[in-house]
Amino acid sequence: MKRTELIVYFLIVAFLLAAYFFFPKPLNFSAAVSIIIVIIMALAFILVFVRTIQGHFIGRRMVFVFVGVALLLPFFMQFKLPLQISPEVRSAYDALVNLPPGSRVLASYDYDPPSAPELQPMADAFIKYCFDHDLKVIIMGLWPQGPQQANLSIEAAFRENPPLRNNIKYGVDYVNLGFQSGNEFVILRMGESFKAMFPTDLYNTPYDSIPLLKNIRNYSNVDMSFNFSAGRPGAVEWVQVAVDRYGLRIASCNTAVQAPQVYPYLESGQLLGLLGGMSGAAEFEDLTGKAGKASTYILSQSFAHVVVILFIIIGNVAFFREKRTKVD
């Protein structure tokens, strides 16, 4: 290993340790600092642009640095991206708002950690809203890791509003039924009986001894459903089985990649609403009035997105510059 490289590693470790022990927590940049950072980034881009025109092309590592910085720094910034609430998010929110207190909402967590950056903020905002407005939540998962993700949402809600920890009771205000394998067949059989699919909850408590589930036999006993899904099984299966066969009222929360497949169901009215990708999550957070992760994430994502767009432009500048050099 070269000496300079060792020094760099050492500096990185030193920085991280310093961050761990000495930095203020949480770290927040003031608005002025944030603006300065954005300006510095813009200047850096202009520099790269000029250098490229001069014939000095940057390598892939430089691209990595720009993407990394664009993704990381917005975490500490206090900006808020101006959001235009899209109608499908609005209608999902309205459906939730119109539920009277005490209504029962089924929440299916059909995703795993890799999709969490997009879906977790939606789920967190949803759980917070339900707990604040006395909606009873029945959680389940068609993906093995879904119920764990739900517990993270609940933990986040408690952390943000500690008194809830005493007011919200497991088994009365919410319940986590756990995971059941079988994809759409689970949805189908739940149309007959939840209990047949979930004889016990996540913690092996029998279905019948959970107060919240006393009068809940199947979809006809829940008032609405939210589905957080990253693929198959997910929103499409819920619509095809639970909505079409059993008339469940459902709003769906999807990753950006999956959203286009779900849009047709929104247009046909089979879905009450749709939250798509990070922007959907941020808009939903905006509506519930609790800025959460998505409001930060969307900033990072937009920054990185712009970086990619700018690099495509720079790449083309580099290409034409190179071509001209060859002709010369």
């Binding site: 892939r60 691209v63 990595f64 720009f66 993407v67 990394g68 993704l71 991206l81 101006p82 950690p113 890799p114 950006a256 286009p260 937009s302 990185a304 997105h305 712009v306 970086v307 990619v308 767009i309 690099f311 495509i312 720079i314 790449g315 083309n316 580099a318 290409f319 034409f320």
Partner: protein, 225 residues
């Protein structure tokens, strides 16, 4: 002989499964195959896992360069194996599910397996940028179309695209970048996907027939007779 029997097996099994679609009583045979396959895969793993242990063991004993990392690999493999086979620390003992929360196996999964996998996956954020930088260049007509499509879609997904083309009157709203992006995704994109999918289907039909009829047989290896 040693080659003819396998060819016969391929032919019989393949054609029976093709025809089973048309006969309701035989409909479930495809699923039986997946059970066979899952069980065969276990035995195959003896060969694969054995190969892993052998390669790293050899590196270790011959003290090849980087043999230290082979020790780590072997240690990881056997620790995971023991933790899973004997369900170490499982709250429900041997009766519990192997991935039960609190078991040593699950802890290793959460602390090591998961962060490593997620980080490897996350590298894509950087690679997607470097690939766009390098590949989306207007080198020729094909590459330019690739570039333009990608660029419009990228712009369409940021507020930038909206502001840049907000001046276009509503009667030509299709030309506004966000609408254009949606149109590309739903129309030309669909045409391309369809052509690819139909092509794939025919390619699979043709290759399957070559395999079933024994025209393609490289995979069968050597006839030592």
């Amino acid at each position: 002989m040693k080659r003819r029997i396998p060819l016969l097996i391929t032919f019989v099994v393949g054609s029976v499964l093709i025809l089973s679609v048309f006969f309701p009583p035989a409909e479930s045979w495809g699923e039986d195959f997946s059970i066979f396959f899952d069980i065969i895969a276990v035995f195959a793993f003896f060969l694969g896992g054995g190969n892993l242990v052998r390669i790293h063991g050899k590196k270790l004993f011959t003290r090849k360069s980087d043999w230290g990392f082979s020790v780590v690999t072997l240690a990881g493999f056997f620790v995971m194996l023991l933790a899973g086979l004997f369900k170490v620390g499982n709250p429900a003992g041997m009766a519990g599910d192997v991935t039960a929360a609190g078991s040593f196996f699950q802890m290793l999964y959460e602390w090591i397996f998961n962060p490593l996998g997620a980080s490897m996956y996350a590298l894509l954020a950087f690679y997607v940028a470097s690939a766009s930088y390098r590949a989306f260049r207007a080198k020729n007509v094909d590459a330019t179309i690739l570039l333009v499509a990608a660029f419009i879609i990228l712009l369409g997904r940021t507020p930038l695209g909206m502001y840049a083309t907000a001046w276009i009157p509503d009667s030509f709203s299709i030309l506004q970048i966000p609408n254009l992006a949606i149109w590309i995704m739903t129309s030309p994109n669909m045409a391309g996907q369809r052509a690819i999918m139909i092509g794939i289907a025919l390619g699979v039909v043709s290759m399957s027939l070559r395999l079933i009829l024994g025209v393609e047989r490289t995979y069968l290896g050597v006839d030592s007779e």
